[in-house]
Assembly symmetry: C2
């Protein structure tokens, strides 16, 4: 591997290893009582086009069974509610309650700070390269 490749690899591994612990710490300081796992479920519900169990689980890379238990506790804590999708009553859709939206606001602020740190000092055409590079990583993981 070339020097740049070795570096990219180490950086990705490092970021991956640290990100969860640090996000978790940030949330705790923001007064949020949920685990990172639970917050990521909320985030996926918000982002996914149709928030059914199957789609949310796919977005998170976990099984639907795992998601069921996660949603159980979130429902119990009052962050989300379940409802049947009228057009296809097999599907269970998840709705975010106000409590969840507050948490997601705090989490989004953290993400924005992170992204700003990345973009600091980058020029416009460099932004483009970064977006394209990350697109490649993402599509590599999707196929």
């Amino acid at each position: 591997m070339s020097e740049a490749k070795v570096m990219i690899n180490e950086l990705l591994v490092d970021i991956f290893n640290r990100i969860l612990a640090i996000e978790s710490e940030e949330l705790k300081q923001g007064g949020v009582k949920l685990s990172m796992n639970e917050v990521h479920v909320l985030e996926a519900v918000q982002v996914v086009a149709e928030p059914s169990m199957t789609f949310i689980a796919a977005k998170l890379g976990i099984t639907v069974g795992s998601l069921t238990t996660a949603v159980n506790t979130l429902v119990q804590k009052g962050y989300v509610t379940r409802y049947r999708f009228p057009e296809d009553r097999r599907k269970v859709l998840i709705k975010l309650e106000d409590k969840a939206l507050e948490v997601l606001d705090i989490h989004r602020e953290y993400h924005e700070k992170m992204i700003d740190a990345i973009f600091e000092d980058l020029k416009v055409d460099e932004d483009l390269v970064l977006v394209q590079s990350l697109s490649k990583v993402a599509s590599y993981f999707k196929k």
Copy 2:
């Protein structure tokens, strides 16, 4: 947030959510019986300067107690051994056995394929931008 920032954010979240499941699948197909967690422990042992429990746990972003249980099973399965560091007998250092090195070879191949996919079609000066951008993300997470 600008459009580029929104995209970067979504890409990072996507990559993060998928990477574990896919790495795990790749390993299974390579005939490796270990979980991704266990493989990441081996990886950290290999990378860290002095493979003591504290340093390895810090590299992984988990508590030393959690690492102890992970190392217990890896010792039991014959992938690593523990030994006391003579210069400071409080420290327990971890040594990779041949079995572990084989697994890490398979895992490294996967990482190389991933990195190659990223670098495909990128030009040299674009490589530099990517490295610098990721360095920023990494240093953001370290401070």
